[in-house]
């Protein structure tokens, strides 16, 4: 048995029919967090609601991880039912190890063909020997031992997570973990994790939860919800959280209602938000236009999935960029922002609330399934000062004008209950007082102000995360930022360099900031997860790019791997 160590280890747990691999994966993640490591877990499953085949893809590392890597060190299968369907998602090689229950069925050919080493662990039989024992806990114990996580971290997680099920359940699980840990000694080895940095306070959180927390931190107190994969968990987290802070979430009858409900909530002075995914966003577009025209702040979080139509609901894609940027009818200036990492879902959503409220417009937050539904161990995100701060008139006189033309373009907005501030918010073009008007003068004046308030606003450095120097720049956004960052780390480790620009503020565009960021850049690689190169075309339309531009655009459902980016940079054509 070797004692090879690594700064990063990647494991897949698979199983079907209530095998509990997701629970085991999540506990493995938490145990890694307690032991001072960082981690990332992505879930994949078959189409069944219950009992289907599932895979928990876990990466644990000594440093923060925002992406999976190119290969997996180990696949641990409680059974082999349909595991072949995940083959493309879990690349392995001869150094990898696949372990299965001898009674877990036939190993899929496509997995065997990777050349991975093979071993057996009679996990079911061993679990059966323990009263109340379950194979997934046995797997947890075995994997934790194999990668070198301390027993105590695992035990603590079990005690914490299973306490509500009673002491017997805790004891049975701990017994299974111990049995698994003991059995691990007899199994072939995989790299163990290098020693961890301890101390810092770690969170275990999904991007969807982070977006929800960002919303509440920003001041959101009213949310209307209609369930849709993969946006639902933002709403599910918010429902009880809002209750605790004196807000409310209402489950609406459809997305047409949820988006309009939040316009009503916001009109009443309460910062309001909804979350959805592509098909829901498409339904919401008309009312997002209403928010823009009536200057009623709202935030819509779109957790993108594979499209078009129902597409691939459980897989990530960055293909809602076009609809988010261009999908409103008429000239409708609005905000589009995108988190640059799982943890950044918190900051970006909070910032979006602040911006929408300050600028009295609609903000679309383009998260994606890979950010939203992945769970990660991260450092506690820093507190930021961005709060909902709407400009409300101190007092309103006789000649009050709700849509007054101001230098900034922002007009003070009274809220119902404020005497003398009575006005009718309108989606019809209007005069400064809000009376419907089809005059060219009113139309120009109102359109100018609605645009000006967005373009003249100072977004500071938050428009993008910029890292590094060099004549080569990589432009990306959203969840593809993760593999691109990792690729860049490798390039730098090999003595190369490139500049990485992860754009957070997609609308309004920032031509001056962009030009400054590209100062000295000779060539640009654009990386995105869409079939038609939506991000590339967006950049082409709005920004000056150097002559030498390469595009790496790939649709879902498979994630972009760091090696693909490294390869692109190495083989510039």
């Amino acid at each position: 048995m070797t004692t090879e160590t690594s700064k990063s280890v990647s494991i897949v747990l698979t199983g079907s029919g209530g095998s509990g691999v997701m629970t085991a994966g999540s506990m493995l993640l938490d145990a890694a967090g307690r032991a001072g490591y960082y981690a990332l877990m992505t879930r994949s499953s078959g189409p069944q609601i219950r009992g289907g085949e599932a895979a928990a893809m876990v990466r644990i590392a000594t440093h923060p991880v925002e992406s999976h890597t190119d290969r997996y060190d180990m696949l641990m299968a409680i059974d082999w039912q349909n595991v072949g369907r995940f083959a493309a998602e879990i690349p392995m090689d001869e150094a990898s190890l696949m372990i299965g229950d001898p009674k877990g069925g036939e190993r899929p050919e496509i997995i065997v063909a990777t050349g991975a080493r093979q071993a057996e662990l009679p996990m079911r039989e061993m679990a059966k020997a323990i009263e109340g024992g379950r194979p997934n806990m046995l797997v947890l114990g075995a994997v934790a031992k194999m990668i070198g996580l301390p027993d105590q971290a695992v035990t603590e997680v079990i005690e914490r997570n299973l306490a509500r099920k009673g002491q017997e359940a805790v004891d049975a699980s701990i017994a299974c973990v111990k049995a698994g840990s003991k059995a691990a000694a007899e199994l072939p080895s995989i790299p163990q994790l290098s020693a961890s940095e301890t101390d810092s306070s770690r969170w275990s959180i999904t991007g969807n939860q982070a977006a929800g927390l960002g919303a509440v931190r920003g001041g959101v107190r009213f949310v209307a919800a209609y369930p849709i994969t993969p946006g639902t968990e933002v709403l599910e987290w918010l429902a009880p959280a809002l209750k605790k802070v004196g807000g409310v979430l209402v489950q609406a009858e459809d997305e047409l209602a949820s988006v309009t409900q939040i316009i009503g909530g916001s009109f009443g002075g309460t910062p309001s938000l909804t979350a959805t995914s592509g098909p829901g966003l498409a339904l919401m577009m008309e009312s997002i236009g209403l928010a823009v025209a009536s200057e009623t702040p709202i935030v819509v979080v779109d957790v993108m999935r594979g499209g078009p139509s129902t597409g691939i609901p459980t897989k990530s894609e960055q293909s809602d960029l076009n609809i988010a940027v261009y999908g409103l009818h008429g000239d409708a200036p609005h905000l589009v922002v995108a988190p640059t990492s799982l943890g950044d879902c918190l900051f970006t959503t909070q910032w979006a609330v602040h911006l929408a409220e300050s600028l009295q417009t609609a903000a679309i937050v383009l998260s994606d399934q890979a950010l939203g539904q992945s769970q990660a161990i991260i450092d506690r995100p820093a507190d930021v000062a961005f709060l909902a701060k709407r400009e409300i008139p101190a007092e309103v006189g006789e000649d009050f004008k709700r849509y007054a033309i101001t230098a900034s373009g922002v007009s003070p907005m009274p809220i119902p209950g404020m005497a003398g501030g009575q006005y009718t918010a309108d989606g019809l073009e209007h005069t400064e007082t809000g009376t419907p008007s089809s005059s060219d003068i009113d139309h120009s004046a109102q359109m100018d102000k609605r645009l000006r308030k967005l373009t003249d606003f100072n977004y500071g450095d938050h428009w993008a995360d910029i890292d590094g120097d060099g004549e080569t720049a990589i432009l990306t956004w959203g969840s593809t930022s993760g593999p691109v960052s990792e690729a860049l780390d490798r390039v730098r480790a090999d003595g190369g360099d490139a500049r990485l620009i992860k754009i957070r503020l997609l609308l309004p565009v920032q031509p001056e900031q962009f030009a400054a960021a590209l100062e000295g850049v000779k060539r640009v690689l654009i990386v995105e997860q869409s079939h038609s190169g939506q991000f590339y075309r967006y950049l082409r339309a709005h920004y000056e790019l150097p002559d030498d531009v390469q595009v790496f655009a790939k649709p879902g459902p498979l994630p972009i791997r760091p090696a693909e980016i490294v390869d692109r940079l190495a083989n510039w054509s």
Binding site: F222, V248, A257, F267, S287
Partner: protein, 279 residues
């Protein structure tokens, strides 16, 4: 209603804004506007604590003509907008107004669910059985044989929708029909509807003098229902089975508790929300 009571009595005129209606002279909606402003004065509401919410259509122009907060939104979505407002601001008096196309066609699903949700608000539909803003097409309440709709030559050929039946089946807590030709009778019903807790639905037969001039007859043919309002949905349903659409007055007055989540914080510090994430 108590908290929204004015100290100095306001008149109906005080509830009219200085925006002049664009409706055709003769339109039934003038009568409804008159009834509504009278009711606001009678109930001693305060303009800034009232919100009138609408979608798109002739009658949906009402918010701008009323001295209160208002929202003239998109077609068919007045009810969800009002629900979002009322749930987050239960202190306001919320009135939703609109027409038959806005409420029963493009907004049909919201109508069902607003009745079911039973938020404390009053929904007034000015029903003229036609789309006026788009030049006279048949609406969900148009009779099957009305042949003048340009999109339905020879008549829609499908039976009209009975909004009172749907409201009752979906759970509205107060259901009535009025005629705009009887503004004071309408005002009396509206006063009761607004004061009644939960979702009140009031259909007002409001003639379109431009596309349906024959509806001027409603003033003569509409009559107060010979039967009192009931709190029994089964009785109300039986009455609707023999209803010819011309009976006015309240039909059903229920006692379901309105939907209104409590808006009271149980934690003092937002940081408490983070605890679940700490490993």
């Amino acid at each position: 209603m108590d908290t929204n009571t004015a100290s100095k009595p306001l008149t109906a005129k005080d509830f009219k804004s200085n925006v002049k209606p664009v409706w055709c002279p003769g339109c039934g909606d003038f009568g409804v506007l008159s009834s509504l402003t009278k009711v606001f004065a009678e109930l001693k509401l305060i303009p800034e604590n009232v919100a009138v919410i609408s979608g798109i259509g002739c009658s949906s122009r009402i918010p701008a003509y009323v001295n209160s907060y208002g929202f003239h939104g998109v077609h068919g979505r007045a009810l969800p907008l009002a629900i979002g407002l009322k749930v987050s601001r239960p202190d306001l008096s919320v009135i939703v107004t609109g027409g038959d196309g806005d409420g029963f066609s493009i907004g049909g699903n919201h109508f069902l669910h607003a009745c079911r949700r039973n938020v404390d608000m009053t929904y007034i539909v000015m029903d003229n059985q036609v789309y006026g803003m788009t030049k006279g097409q048949a609406s969900p309440t148009t009779e099957a044989t009305w042949a003048k709709g340009k999109l339905t030559p020879g008549g829609p050929g499908i039976n009209p929708f009975n909004p009172l039946v749907i409201a009752l089946a979906s759970g509205a807590n107060y259901i009535a029909r009025c005629s705009s030709g009887d503004p004071n009778g309408t005002a009396k019903v509206l006063a009761e509807a607004i004061a009644h807790p939960g979702f009140s639905f009031v259909q007002i037969m409001s003639p379109c003098v431009t596309y349906r001039p024959e509806q001027r007859e409603w003033k003569k043919t509409a009559r107060p229902s010979p039967v009192e309002a009931t709190d029994d949905p089964a009785r109300a349903a039986r009455r609707l089975m023999s209803d010819d659409g011309l009976n006015t007055g309240p039909l059903y007055i229920g006692s379901r508790a309105p939907y209104q989540p409590e808006l009271k914080a149980s934690i003092e510090n937002l940081a408490e929300l983070e605890q679940e994430f700490v490993v």
